[in-house]
Each structure stands twice: as C-alpha cells, then as structure tokens.
C-alpha cells in the first residue's frame, strides 16, 4: 500500500469535496459534517458524474448530475439505484490527510 499526503482537512469544504488526480484515475475526497473523510472514485456509477462536486451528508454523497445517492461506507448506490464505486483508504494524522493508493476490497 502506498500512502500519499493530500493536504489538510481545511482544504476540503465541510459537507463537500475535492478531487485528486492519481495514476488510478480521479479520486473524490469528501468530508462530512463530523469531519470524517472518505475517498471514492470520482465517477458516479450512473453516468459518471463527478462525486467531488456533490452534497455530502452523513455517510452519503448526492451526485450532482442526477442526484443518485452513494453510501460512502459501502461504496454502493442507495436503492432503488444500483451500482458501485471504488473505495480508497484514508488515514488522518491530526489535520493531515493521507490517501492509500489501493482499492479497498470487501
């Protein structure tokens, strides 16, 4: 596992997100209202919308294109929609965010 420093928590707007360009493609880094950070591939399973631009609430991100809801802990779309996004590990050290460049496999 390769861990990359992304920056600090305050660089991500709370209840929103940013994206990171990586050799594995674009990865959305999302921060919720409790300052929990999630990393998933930056492509909605529906039509590829950039999840980094969605609303984040609790464990959910709402895709900005057609409002699909993606569960960030499961990496799955919320029913009735279905589809998956890749999840990536995040480690916090104080304010510093680290991204693991390897997909989490269930």
């Amino acid at each position: 596992m390769e861990w990359m420093a992304l920056g600090t928590l305050e660089e991500i707007p709370a209840r929103g997100g940013r994206y990171v360009e990586t050799p594995l493609g674009e990865i959305a880094v999302l921060r919720n209202e409790n300052d929990e950070v999630f990393a998933v591939s930056n492509q909605c399973p529906h039509r590829g919308g950039p999840l980094s631009e969605g609303f984040v609430s609790g464990k959910l991100v709402f895709c900005p294109l057609h409002n699909w809801q993606i569960d960030l802990e499961k990496g799955e779309a919320v029913a009735p929609d279905s589809g998956c996004v890749k999840r990536f590990p995040i480690r916090m050290e104080g304010e510093q965010i680290w991204l693991g460049l390897q997909e989490i496999t269930p």
């Binding site: 209840r15 990171v20 919720n32 009735p80």
Partner: protein
C-alpha cells in the same frame, strides 16, 4: 407470568393491521431502538393490505400478494408477534395486557389499533349461518367458499363496500342483488344523477338493485334462505352479506375505563385519556370524526409514532378525504361537499351517452367538493385545489375539463393513464414504464407518490409525469388512495413545510443553513440535496445582508458559476446586456475560444453566446480573459432579457425594446430567485421576442408598455397573464422589481413563476403591486437592497476573493 424484562421500555401494540403496523414502521424510522415491541393480532396473518380484499374476492389476486409485512420483517426488527391471539383485557393499574391465551404482558406504552367491525342490521335472523360480513381475509375466504356453490347472493347496503363485494361475488359467478334503503346506490358519495349512472353500469355487469327497501327479517332456520322487506315482499338468498357500515371496536378500551363515544376518544397527539395509551386507526374518534379510509389512518400513525418516539412535535388535525370505488372498469371519485347547497355554485358536465358526469362545487371561488363519474382523471388535481383552497376564478368555467385545458403540453396532457398499455413509458426522465409502476404499487405495498418515487424513480426527476403516476396510484389502489399528504414536508429531513421553515427563518432571525437545521431539529444534521439549496435560498432572501451564503448548500452550477455538462466539463455564458454586442467584444470572445480550444461556441435560446466544453480548471482563466460579467446562465437567477430590435431600426417597432431590455438586465442582474427567471421585451404587438411565454414579458404598444407575467415556454407551456399597462421605462422597471421581489419572497424554492401565479392567483398580485403604490415601492426597494449585496462572481473569482476549487486538491504522478 411476565415477559422477559430488558432495559428498554416496552411498547405493546394491540392490533396487527394497517394502522398499528404503519405506526410501528414510522416509529422505527425515527427511533429504532427506543422500545421493545410486542404486537398482538386477532387474525392468523401478518399485516396484509386490507384495501386489496376485493381483488382477492374477485379472484384477481391471491392472499399472499397482499402481505405488507412478512413474518421476517417482524423478526428483523426484533418485534414479538402474536397472531391469532387477541388481547382480551387491559389492566391499567398494573400496566398489563392479558391475551386470549391467558398470557400477561407488561407495557410502558400501549398503542390501540383494534380497527372496526361490520355493523349488523338489528333484524331477526341476523345471526343465521350464511349471514356474513366483509371486513377481513376470513370473510373473503368464507365468501369464496360459499360462492363456489353458486346460487343467489344478497348484499344489504349499497355503499362502497357493498358494491365492491357485489362485484366480487358476481365475478365468482353468483346471481347478485344489492338492497339499499335510499333511492340510489352510494348516496354518501354520489348525487342522484351519478347514482343512476352507476346503477346502470353495475346492472350491465349483471348486478341487480332493489332500492328504497327496508329489511324486516332474515328468513331461514338452519341457514339463511331469503329475506322479507318491511313492505311484505320477499326474495330468496343462499348467501347474505351485510355491508351497512362499520363500528369502531372499542369494547376493550371501554372495559379498561378509557373514554369512548362512537370510537376511542383521542386528542391531537392521538393520546387517549390515559397518557400511557395511544390509539390510531378506525377505532378512534378524533374531534368527533371517525375514519375508515387508509390515508387518514396513515396520517394518524405518523403523528402517534412521532409522540411515541418522544419527538413531541406533530399534531393531527383531522383529514379531508376523498373516495374512489374499486370496481374494475367503473371510474368514480368524490370528495367534500358534492351536493352543494346555499352559497354554493356548481359547474357540471354530463355526457349520458359516454357515461361521463362531472360536478364541481364552488364556494367563493374555491373548490369545496366534487364528484366525478366515468372519467376521474382530474380527481387528484381537483382534490389538491380543494385542500389548498386555491382561488379558481381564473379558470372556473373550464374546471370540469381539468388542468390539461389550461395550457399543458407533452406528458402532463395525457390524462388516461389507466387506459395505457403496460409498456407505455410514464416517466421519460428515468424510463419507467406503466407496468413496473403498477407492479411496484401492488407488490411492495406503496401508498403515496413519495413511495413510488423512492421505489421506482418514476416522476422523481422533472416531475412532469406526476399527474400520471398519481392516476396509476389511484387506479391501482382504488377506494383508498389519497392523493397528497395534507401538508407537504420540505423533504425527508423534517416534518415542516417550506412555508413553516421560511417563517421560522424570518421570525427567529436564523442566519445560516446550519442555524436553521439546529434550531428546527433537522433529522440529518447536514440535510440532503433537496433541503440544502432551498434553505440556503430562504436564508439569503430573508436576510440579504446578514444571512450567510453557504456554497456547500448550492448546486454545483451555482458553486462553480458555470453550467456542468454531462461529461463533467462546463459551459461559459458571459452577460451581454440585451443581446447587444460589438465587433471588439466578439473578437475578444473568439480569441479566447480559440486560445483555449473551446470545443463548441453556440448561441443559446436566450440570445447569448455559450462556450461549451470548458474544463473546470480553465474557468478562472477564461473569465479573466473575457473580462465580462457572469451571465448567471447556470443559476436559479435572472437569466437573460431577450429582445427584438425595436423602434431604433425596425419599421414596425413602436417602442425601443432593445434599450428597455438592456435597462432591465442592468437593473436585475445577479438576482437569485426560487428558480430561473427569463424576461423578454418586444417593441410592438408582433411580439418577436416571445414575451408572452416568459416569467415576465414586456410588449410595446403605441401608448406605452404592456407587462405580462407567469408565462412559460418549457416543460409546460403557459401563456402569460396581462398584469398591467404602463407608460414609461421607469414604471416598467419598478413594476418588474416589485413583481420579482414578491415572487422571491413568496414562491417555494424551485417553483417557477407560472405555477406560482396560478397558485396564488393573478388578482392577489395585482392588488399587491398594481393597485397599491406603497407596497410596490417597498418591494422594489427591497429588491434594490438585496441586489446591492451581490457582487459579480466571476470578478470575485478572478481577483482571488472567491475560491471555486477549480484545480484538483493534489496531482499524484504515476
């Protein structure tokens, strides 16, 4: 013997039917772990959909298909279920319920949902074998067995239930006669004209009627053989079904010393006289009313659950109900006062040959009741008008033709969902066919529009097929479908409506989305994609100076100040006032487009230039190089003011529409609104700028300007209404500001001017801003103040004062 004691308080539910279980479901949504729950039911089945008794009786469905909560559901939620085991006694002192098997169960809270029983006519012979009721699955099973022998069935009582059972028994091959005391069937739902039409239609299906007949005695010794009427005549009967009404089951509550009249008395929180005991459903009496339809029961369940969950916020204030008959092929709808009376006016339509009869009762230009027979497509709409108390004066003459005659186009013009084939596409946005919607309603036990949206996505996007989906709900659920909740919650995060949230923001001076969520106890502390933009808009409109604009509560377009496209790129539309540009400006735009290899340059529908396919990262650079203000083409905001050439060049023009368009655009740019706002100015009545399909459109005439409002040319075409006529540009500007400020302050988020004008009525708008110069002036001043707080977002971004997060957070090289 007591049940095992755990640390959670115990909720015991008496009654395993639709009302009780719905309350449990609502409770689990709010407070899944608050109680240990036990449910006692008299019937042997898990909770099934009682609405579907008639399809089961008619042989169109099987019992299994009507189960709403299978046994696994109870197990999954840790609910102890006792079927076939009614509660026989409540000991309020020791807080125990005693069930038929002798078991005593302790409760901390008790929910009574005992439902109602069939009322039996007090005539000799009413207990003979062969005399049946029609209330539950056991009745359906008994009737199915009896009908297999064929013969004569007599139904006493020509109400909704009576006609449904008659239909079901006829479908099973019996000879059926309906006995009714009044002169026409369904007299509680129909006037005589409608009743006669219904009678004819039922007779055509082989059901006989004996009207104006009073039953005196049921004949037979070992089994029913017939009945005698008070006039001495007799008819034979092998099966007799009593459907003269229902009576709430209150014996248990009464014996426990709870106050009862017709039903168990409850207050607005569904609490009985014993504060530990709540009651919902057909067994309760609330403000003197008892209910037998499913929609009110569900409303009650929601409120009771809210209090059981210790939220303590909601009140049940009674329900307005409508009914539909569920006999295949007979369309019938009635609601409210359908008979009319003094101070009432009627609008009717009667087409005897087609079997169509519609009657709408109006009182002071509001719908107070209605009756539809043969074609009920306008039912949900009419019911909505009735509940909202909408002023219908603008379209009262055409009201019986429905909304479709008020300028619909496309989908919403379709009004006969029931007749469409199963593969017909209902929702064009999400590609949902009629068949899948109907299947979902049946199999997953859906009752409301929201349920259908959640489950199938139908009408969850643009919403133009909402009417069709409502019709499918109505035709699939029949008698018990209730079109819309009385009060629409803003979203799933709160019980409060748009207006209630808005009022609180003003009254409590709530200055940010977070404050609103905290103060109003939002269910999700960060809200959802529906409430965040709405609440942010309400905060900004109420408090233009102090209110905090939360970028994370704006849709991506308004956060990036550009329009996101399907591939994640953006489009850039600079503001070109009135559509008037110059060679130098055009050159500059062309050069920017070339330099950045913009894939497409296109004119928009609103006469502006669009640079499409721009990467987010390039946006600030392009804005800097264009050096033009934002066109706000991406926002719920003032878009463009479209214009024709006008008197400056045009040989027909009588007014300078181009100059007016520029003035309007300069006066109103940066205006945020509940939805997008499009304006137009035409220089003569030929109206080349199409002012009559704009949110606000101006048309020049020889003596000045005509101002039109509430037009729309998009999803649902609506011709604008003439608001007033003025002489000068200054008057146009003031009127425009007043109208748009009124819209900004009053309309719901995402409500365009067209539906808003229809909802509140043109007369009210005229009275506020045309007839009242003071209000007009203060509204215009408030608009000016709000706009003075807004800066050009592109300049802000270029100067570094606004960060749109254009670049990735980090680039990790391979």
């Amino acid at each position: 013997m007591h049940t095992t004691v755990s640390q959670n308080p115990r909720l015991v539910v008496v009654g395993n039917g639709m009302a009780g279980i719905r309350a449990v479901e609502e409770l689990l949504k709010m407070a899944p772990d608050l109680y240990d729950i036990s449910v006692f039911g008299a019937e042997p089945h898990p909770n099934y959909n009682r609405i579907l008794l008639t399809p089961v009786l008619a042989g169109e469905m099987a019992l299994e298909e009507t189960i709403l909560n299978p046994l696994e559901w109870y197990a999954e939620h840790g609910i102890q279920l006792f079927t076939g085991n009614p509660v026989t006694r409540i000991d309020r002192v020791k807080r125990l319920v005693i069930s038929a098997d002798g078991k005593a169960t302790h409760y901390d809270r008790l929910l009574l949902a005992t439902g109602a029983a069939a009322a039996m006519a007090p005539v000799p012979g009413n207990h003979l074998p062969g005399v049946m009721s029609y209330r539950d699955m056991a009745d359906v099973e008994a009737l199915t067995r009896s009908s297999a022998l064929g013969g004569q069935a007599v139904v006493i009582g020509g109400g909704l239930l009576g006609l449904e059972v008659a239909h079901g028994l006829r479908a099973r091959g019996m000879e059926v006669t309906v006995i009714h005391r009044r002169a026409w069937p369904l007299d509680k739902q129909l006037d005589q004209r409608g009743g006669v039409l219904l009678q004819k239609a039922m007779e055509a299906r082989g059901v006989r009627f004996l009207l104006g007949k009073e039953t005196a005695e049921i004949l037979g010794s070992a089994h029913v053989t017939g009945l005698r009427f008070s006039d001495g005549t007799e008819i034979p009967a092998d099966v007799l079904v009593m459907t003269i009404g229902i009576k709430p089951r209150i014996e248990l509550a009464q014996a426990a010393g709870l106050q009862c009249e017709t039903g168990i008395l409850v207050n607005d929180t569904l609490q009985t006289y014993d504060p530990r005991i709540y009651a919902v459903g057909e067994c309760v009496q609330h403000r003197g009313q008892t209910y037998g339809l499913v929609a009110p029961l569900f409303e009650q369940a929601k409120v009771a659950a809210n209090h059981l969950a210790e939220y303590g916020r909601m009140r049940y204030q009674g329900s307005v109900t409508s009914t539909k008959l569920k006999v295949t092929g007979i369309e019938l709808f009635s609601a409210g006062n359908f008979m009319g009376g003094e101070d009432c006016e009627e609008v009717t339509l009667l087409d005897g040959s087609q079997g169509v009869y519609k009657k709408v009762i109006l009182q002071e230009n509001k719908v107070v009741g209605g009756l539809l027979y043969g074609d009920t497509s306008i039912g949900p709409w009419l019911f909505q008008l009735m509940r909202d108390g909408t002023d219908v004066s603008a379209f009262r003459d055409n009201i019986v033709f429905g909304e479709t005659h008020l300028g619909d186009a496309g989908h919403s013009g379709e009004n006969q969902a029931a007749r469409l084939p199963d593969n017909a596409e209902i929702c064009g946005c999400n590609g949902v066919a009629k068949g899948s919607i109907v299947k979902a309603i049946r199999e997953q036990g859906l009752f409301t529009l929201d349920d259908v949206r959640k489950c199938t996505k139908a009408s969850a996007s643009c919403g133009s097929c909402t009417g069709l989906v409502e019709q499918l709900l109505a035709s699939t659920l029949g008698g018990f479908y209730d079109s819309t909740p009385k009060k629409k919650a803003l979203c799933g995060c709160t019980e409060l409506s748009h207006q209630e949230v808005r009022d609180a923001i003003v009254k409590e001076k709530l200055l940010s989305v977070r404050q609103v969520y905290a103060y109003l106890e939002w269910r999700h502390p960060a809200g959802c994609a529906t409430c965040r933009p709405a609440v942010n808009y309400y905060v900004r409109t109420a408090w233009p100076m102090e209110g905090l604009d939360d970028p994370q509560s704006r849709f991506i377009n308004e956060r990036a100040h550009a329009n996101i496209q399907k591939d994640g790129t953006y489009s850039v539309i600079p503001r070109i006032y009135g559509g008037v540009t110059s060679p130098a400006e055009l050159k500059r735009i062309a050069e920017v487009a070339e330099r950045h290899h913009v894939p497409m340059v296109k004119f928009t529908g609103g006469q502006r230039l669009d640079l499409l396919g721009v990467k987010k990262e390039d946006l600030p650079k392009i804005w800097a190089e264009l050096d033009m203000p934002s066109g706000h083409a991406y926002g719920k905001a003032l878009r463009t003011v479209k214009s024709c050439v006008g008197s400056e060049f045009c040989r027909f023009g009588v007014q300078d529409s181009t100059r007016l368009a520029i003035e309007l655009e300069k006066n109103l740019e940066r205006m945020w609104a509940p939805h997008k706002v499009k304006l137009a100015a035409s220089g003569c009545p030929r109206n080349c700028a199409e002012s009559t399909i704009k949110d606000m459109g101006i048309i020049g005439v020889d003596s000045g300007w005509e101002i039109y409002v509430g037009g729309n040319g998009g999803m649902k075409v609506r011709a604008a209404d003439l608001l007033c006529k003025v002489k000068t540009h200054e008057e146009v500007l003031e009127m425009a500001k007043a109208f748009l400020q009124m819209y900004r302050e009053d309309a719901q988020y995402l409500e365009r001017t067209a539906p808003w004008v229809e909802r509140i009525g043109l007369e009210k708008i005229k009275a506020t801003i045309v007839d009242d110069a003071n209000t007009r002036k203060t509204l215009a001043e408030r608009m000016d103040f709000a706009l003075s707080q807004e800066k050009d977002p592109w300049k802000e971004a270029v100067s570094g004062r606004l960060d749109i997060h254009a670049a990735p957070m980090r680039r990790i090289p391979a």
